[in-house]
């Protein structure tokens, strides 16, 4: 992931191509010609994405495969750096062109406004992936500087910074220490690191989203909610309604439904589900670990849908086994992170073997202070999220009616971030996707 000045031509070319393609689609009466413009836009954008993000993955994989059959392949070498935000703005512009093609959206004629839609700085590098139907009208509205927007935006940003600096970057220290020397660690250590990673990636990504949403709010623009406390999901289906909502709904609207959704035969329906998750996995990064992660979630989803359709689980609903469901989803997510966080497919196989087959005793906690701080960060996050999830409107601090409670809470939150935050941490994980 990098930001090189010449890469601005990538986003500029995407913007120009989609701007023109959408206008042409809007003008054309012939369905065939509309389709040609749409396909041109799709091929152009996806080619850029493929070349800069996936070329080396497929190139290396072909080389390895042919090599295993003793077939010589003169591998072309491109030292490509992943342009920052390419996955996000490509999907954002793709949805716009498809919406225009479907007739759900009129083409935007103001190039400047459209360019801002593609490159709106708060959410450019890691989402939320906005829809043109939401963001373009918002960009056209005249916005006055408002105290309420500023206050609400800064509160969201503050929460985002807490998630990133206090939770995600703290947990990263332990997770990286374990995952970067995975073969030396015990089974329990790997489980602990993977559980930490669950909170790390959530807070890293949701933290960025809150900062982006907050920054946009300060400017008077409402971006869509991207996370809704996914750790309280009691089923896999619910998880995907709470996790990276902008991407999940994108895949639902532009991949799953066009594939036929659930209005097809049962086997095809399951295949649609699986393919959607498989592609979603590939979207996350140019590594087979992400593809396998997507496949595993597809498998989870199919099993869940199958059970719901075929087994009588009403008794579960009757006794409200929500906590059991939350724990079960937690475990399934941790298992899926054996794939997602592993540095390579070999590493992830090693992890599965160590955890499920070759149990190795012992526990590594690294630096005691860091481990305790990690647990504390998770505890604070969980308590706040329990309050948000189960007691909304109660025990309000940042939104308290009393001015002094609000101000003191805001200042205390800043103090907590300064005291517990990690300021030498890395970049946001999702910047690489």
């Amino acid at each position: 992931m990098c930001w090189k000045p010449e890469y601005v031509f990538l986003i500029l070319s995407s913007t120009i191509v989609d701007y023109i393609a959408a206008i042409k689609i809007g003008r054309e009466k012939s369905q065939l010609k509309k389709r040609i413009y749409l396909y041109f836009s799709l091929v152009f954008n996806l080619s850029l994405l493929f070349f800069f993000k996936y070329f080396n993955l497929f190139n290396d994989s072909i080389y390895t495969l042919l090599n295993s059959f003793n077939i010589f392949y003169d591998k072309p070498e491109f030292h490509l750096l992943l342009p920052v935000g390419i996955s996000f703005y490509t999907f954002q512009t793709l949805s716009y062109t498809i919406d225009v093609f479907r007739g759900n959206k009129k083409p935007e004629r103001h190039f400047g406004k459209f360019a801002v839609f593609v490159s709106f700085f708060p959410q450019l590098v890691a989402g939320p992936i906005e829809r043109s139907s939401r963001l373009l009208p918002a960009l056209k509205q005249k916005v006055n500087f408002s105290y309420e927007n500023l206050s609400e935006g800064l509160k969201k940003m503050l929460w985002g910074y807490f998630m990133k600096l206090v939770v995600a970057d703290r947990l990263a220290i332990y997770v990286d220490a374990v995952y970067n020397n995975i073969e030396h660690h015990s089974s329990l250590t790997i489980i602990a690191a993977s559980s930490f990673f669950l909170f790390q990636i959530y807070c890293d990504f949701a933290g960025y989203s809150y900062i982006a949403i907050g920054a946009a709010k300060v400017l008077g623009i409402d971006l869509m909610e991207n996370f809704r406390r996914p750790n309280f999901a009691a089923s896999i289906g619910e998880l995907w309604k709470r996790w990276h909502i902008s991407l999940s709904t994108w895949f639902r609207d532009y991949v799953y439904i066009p594939l036929g959704g659930n209005r097809v035969s049962k086997p095809r329906f399951y295949l649609n589900l699986f393919l959607t998750f498989l592609i979603s996995g590939l979207w996350h990064g140019a590594n087979w670990t992400f593809v396998l992660w997507g496949a595993l979630h597809g498998f989870y989803m199919i099993v869940e849908v199958f059970i719901k359709k075929n087994l009588k689980i009403k008794f579960l609903k009757k006794y409200n086994f929500m906590i059991l469901g939350i724990l079960f989803v937690f475990v399934l997510k941790v298992i899926s992170y054996f794939l997602f966080r592993a540095n390579s497919v070999d590493d992830s196989f090693f992890i599965f073997k160590r955890v499920f087959y070759d149990w190795t005793p012992g526990f590594y906690h690294g630096d005691g202070g860091n481990f305790i701080n990690s647990l504390l960060a998770i505890m604070i996050l969980t308590l706040i999220e329990i309050k948000q999830e189960f007691f909304p409107g109660k025990l309000l601090l940042l939104h308290n009616k009393c001015y002094w409670v609000r101000s003191t809470s805001f200042a205390t939150m800043i103090a907590i971030i300064i005291y517990l935050g990690v300021f030498d941490g890395g970049q946001f994980i999702y910047f690489q996707f």
Binding site: S407, T408, A411, I418, Y419, L420
Partner: protein, 318 residues
């Protein structure tokens, strides 16, 4: 619109004021806790910065803190001793100790514990974060802390930042004694138990370490330590502790031999000492000796120093 700007400015000032107030109160509380630490890492650092006046000073990273037993040296050499080694630290920390302690007291003997890769690895200033609470009280450490990040010198005006994430180590010593070694151990952190290894496995093989070029900055800092103590009239012994598995001679070890000749210090290399290597009963983990191993190594070093000092005395003309 003007009203909004006034309101925003008012809120900004109020929040800033509360943050400052929290910063001052919290900083004061942490400072009290630090200066009254009954033992532990802050007590040990404060001791070497403010009070130490021993004849022998030991500095280095965890290998120094864990492997060198001051009481053994005191008995063998009949000199007082303090171990100022600190786990997780490297040359920048030793430089800080050198800068602060030498300004107050010059020891007769310096035992500098080094890692076999110390001159090759990049210097990690981030780990120096542990010394942030001492920033304002001990000016010589400021240039090192300032290297943690570009704006570190400005961040240090905040007590919350200076004490960032310290609560565990700051308050632990009030509840659990001796986690970093008891005070009677004089800075030594004993490690009990021994490493577990499958004795039937093929574990007796030398580790190959890829030779790397010398890090110029690390070399400069190392030379400064040596030169400063030499100038203060301190005898210097540089010790390479044993690991469970030996390794090929690294670029660092080769360079240290050159430096020993150049600066006239004694280099004691135990990296291939058969008393220790492949002896799990003497190690707590692959890189650190347990109590038993630490006593044995300390006795060996103390004997060597005794012999050197004895032979030097004999060489002196009457």
């Amino acid at each position: 619109m003007k009203k909004i700007y006034v309101k925003v400015f008012r809120d900004f000032l109020i929040i800033l004021f509360i943050v400052f107030a929290l910063d001052i109160v919290f900083g004061k509380l942490c400072s009290i806790a630090l200066h009254n630490s009954p033992d532990g890492r802050y007590y040990k650092t404060l001791y070497v910065f403010e009070h130490y006046n021993e004849d022998i000073l030991m500095i280095g990273s965890s290998k120094a803190e864990v492997n060198f037993v001051p009481n053994v040296f005191e008995e063998e050499l009949n000199l007082t001793c303090w171990n100022a080694g600190r786990g997780g630290q490297s040359l920048p920390y030793s430089r800080c100790i050198q800068e602060v302690s030498l300004s107050r007291h010059a020891p007769k003997i310096l035992i500098l514990g080094v890692n076999k890769l110390v001159l090759e690895r990049p210097l990690n200033f981030v780990r120096m974060g542990f010394l942030k609470p001492f920033y304002w009280d001990f000016p010589p450490i400021r240039p090192f802390i300032n290297e943690i990040s570009t704006n570190e010198k400005y961040y240090m005006f905040s007590n919350l930042y200076a004490y960032n994430s310290t609560f565990y180590y700051l308050f632990r010593s009030y509840f659990v004694k001796g986690m970093d070694g008891e005070n009677k151990h004089k800075g030594w952190k004993p490690k009990t138990g021994h490493m577990s290894i499958d004795l039937n496995s093929n574990y007796k093989h030398e580790i190959f370490v890829e030779p790397k070029p010398i890090n110029k900055r690390a070399l400069k800092e190392f030379e400064t330590i040596i030169q400063s103590f030499k100038k203060a009239g301190t005898e210097i012994y540089v010790v390479i502790s044993p690991d469970f598995k030996p390794a090929n001679p690294t670029t660092t070890i080769v360079k240290l031999k050159e430096l020993a000749n150049e600066y006239h210090f004694e280099l004691l290399d135990y990296s291939h000492d058969t008393t220790f290597i492949y002896k799990p009963q003497l190690f707590r983990d692959f890189g650190h000796l347990n109590t038993n191993g630490a006593y044995q190594l300390s006795n060996k070093i103390a004997d060597k120093i005794k012999n050197y000092r004895h032979s030097k005395t004999e060489q002196k003309p009457n």
